[in-house]
């Protein structure tokens, strides 16, 4: 029997029982659509989170005071209060050839007032380098002046939201705000950037780091941000940072360096696993659809007993009968998969406009995995009915009317 003739024969059989075939296609299509849609949403989540991380800046290293102990061991015998990170430490880090920029950061909260308006907002002490490291953009004016980080110049840059709440629609440039006990001149405002990993960059006032340490009366930094020269330099930068701090802290490794890439890679892995898990759960529905196909094929065979008897009488071998029925269930699976893909695409076309910020792109592997699961399960579950058909006794099959 020629393959095209066999396919045609099965196509006629599928079309010959529209209700039965339609229901099977529906089950298959829903399963396939579920796999593709869930995989797409999972993949979208991954991309969304990755994009959020990237908006922090590129090739970022974060130096935190204190050492995160990841190996076991007895607790230290003597007092182990970690040494503070200081502005001088931050400046020393800039000497590494693998590091392009360094921005020390002090974070605190202080009342900020203009005339009678007062608000408690987040105060960020840093240097001019913060702007490029964090990928921030200015709306008006200029950022903190470059130069000696230990100079506590009385200037500040306001976030979008802070600016709005303190000055309304008036231009804040050149005006003064009171932060704590000091007056700062507003020299710039940040462009609206929205949320950046949960920290609202709109509701801040940025002042020189030395001014912040004076304001909060502390020598220690919250953390130091460093930007490596390139992706390849990240590892070297990390080693350099650790070495420099160790040299400055009398041989103690009392800081932790987190690289943004490592963080990103971890999230990436977690979310990818999650996507696969969700798609896997959806794939269970395909197995259910496969079982449905088996049931319906069994019904089909009892309906078509006489036809099977006839096929045998006109010389069809067992193998041929079996192949025909297997092909029929496979054909149904293929058609169901195609319908499922269309369903998934239609679903995305509806969903995407509802969540424009969320990237919805069908990951390449999901249609392939859905199709493979659909076709292999229905073929697998098609074996039993097909074998039953092939083994039918032609005499009793033909006797049935």
């Amino acid at each position: 029997m020629r393959i095209l003739d066999a396919v045609d024969f099965c196509r006629r059989a599928v079309c010959g029982y529209p209700l039965r075939s339609g229901l099977m296609l529906l089950a298959m299509a829903i399963g396939v659509a579920a796999v593709v849609l869930l995989a797409t949403l999972g993949e979208g989540t991954r991309r969304y989170v990755t994009a959020q991380f990237s908006s922090l800046g590129t090739h970022l290293l974060i130096v935190l005071p204190g050492r995160a102990e990841t190996v076991g061991g007895p607790p230290p015998m003597m007092g182990q209060t970690p040494r503070d990170l200081t502005i001088a430490d931050a400046m020393a880090l800039a000497r590494s050839t693998a590091v392009r920029r360094v921005a020390p950061i002090v974070v605190g909260s202080a009342p900020v007032s203009v005339g009678s308006r007062e608000r408690e907002i987040t105060i960020l002490g840093s240097t001019s380098e913060l702007l490029p490291i964090r990928n921030l953009a200015l709306a008006h004016g200029r950022f903190l002046p470059a130069g000696d980080a230990s100079r506590a110049e009385a200037v500040c840059v306001l976030g979008h939201k802070a600016r709005h709440e303190l000055f309304g629609s008036r231009s804040p440039l050149g005006r003064f705000v009171r932060i704590g006990e000091r007056r700062f001149r507003v020299i710039g405002t940040l462009a609206k950037k929205g949320q950046s990993l949960g920290v609202d960059i709109g509701d801040v006032a940025i002042i020189p780091v030395a001014a912040a340490t004076a304001l909060f009366n502390t020598e220690s930094l919250f953390r130091i941000l460093a930007q490596a020269r390139s992706r390849d330099a990240i590892a070297r930068a990390k080693a350099d940072l650790l070495a420099i701090i160790r040299a400055r802290h009398e041989g103690e490794d009392d800081v932790t360096v987190i690289t943004q890439d490592a963080l990103l890679a971890t999230f990436d892995r977690i979310l990818q696993t999650l996507t696969l898990a969700v798609a896997g759960i959806a794939a269970v529905s395909l197995v259910v659809a496969g079982i449905l196909i088996m049931n319906v094929m069994l019904v089909a065979i009892s309906q078509r007993t006489a036809e099977i008897g006839l096929l045998k009488a006109v010389g069809a071998t067992r193998t041929q009968v079996m192949a025909l029925f297997l092909l029929e269930s496979t054909l149904l699976a293929i058609l169901g998969t195609a319908a499922g893909m269309l369903l998934a695409m239609a679903g995305l076309m509806v969903l995407q406009p509802m969540f424009p910020a969320f990237p919805m792109q069908i990951p390449w592997w999901s249609p392939a995995a859905a199709a493979a699961t659909a076709v292999s399960t229905s073929t697998l579950f098609g074996v039993l009915p097909a074998r039953r058909a092939a083994r039918l006794d032609p005499v009793s099959a033909l006797a049935e009317k």
């Binding site: 029997m1 020629r2 006629r12």
Partner: protein
């Protein structure tokens, strides 16, 4: 040449063994025209099924042109059915979703004959049995006589040497029945071996050789005296 030697077919019904065929021996020469008659349950359909290799005898040997068919595998038997035997059934057994022409083409499709040759042969067969203007109709759009003619066209499309007809007119009125018998007899005239199982003495009487069965045995085997 068909040779049956001591063929037995035993069915278990309840706790009892029923001899549907009991030591049947029979020789049918090429081109012969046989009718097999007998009451219900006399084993005539079982004999036809054994002859058509749809059923395996429990004992005895069955040779077609010298070849012992009982030793063949299922697939080899299927090949013998495909190439040497054409079936005509009481209930036609057409595939309802296929057109008349497609039903006729079915054995050709199963044996992998290319489409172009198929079309020609089906066309000729439809023509021959007066079905040219019914080629695109489905079985439910055909009369009983037309359906049986489609079945005859299908039975002969592989150019078999033996035609086995099981009550071919059992479901037809007299006029269509006569038509069908005429069509079947035209096959005999071409040198095909024809065996008809029938209840109808009028039809049975037309055959050249009459076999009468009773309780699984051949009780009468006579030739029509011209």
């Amino acid at each position: 040449m068909i040779v049956l030697e001591n063929i037995s077919r035993i069915f278990q019904v309840g706790g009892e063994s029923v001899h549907a065929l009991d030591q049947v021996s029979l020789q049918v020469a090429k081109g012969d025209y046989l009718s097999i008659m007998g009451p219900s349950g006399s084993g005539k359909s079982t004999l036809l099924n054994v002859l058509g290799l749809l059923d395996r005898p429990d004992q005895g040997t069955y040779r077609i042109d010298g070849q012992d068919t009982t030793a063949l595998t299922d697939d080899q038997q299927a090949a013998v059915r495909r190439h040497h035997i054409g079936f005509i059934f009481q209930f036609f057994h057409l595939v309802p979703r296929l057109t008349a022409a497609e039903n006729v083409a079915l054995p050709l499709v199963l044996s992998g004959v290319p489409q172009r040759e198929r079309r020609q042969r089906v066309h000729d067969a439809m023509d021959r049995f007066g079905l040219s203007n019914r080629a695109g109709h489905r079985p439910d759009q055909l009369s009983g006589g037309q359906r049986q003619r489609v079945a005859i066209a299908r039975a002969t499309i592989m150019r078999p040497t033996v035609i086995l007809a099981d009550e071919p007119t059992g479901n037809l009125d007299r006029a269509s029945g006569d038509e069908i018998i005429a069509a079947i007899e035209s096959l005999k005239d071409e040198g095909l071996t024809v065996l008809i199982v029938t209840h109808d003495p009028h039809i049975g009487g037309r055959a050249a050789r009459h076999i009468r069965m009773l309780d699984g045995r051949v009780v009468e085997d006579s030739r029509r005296t011209a």
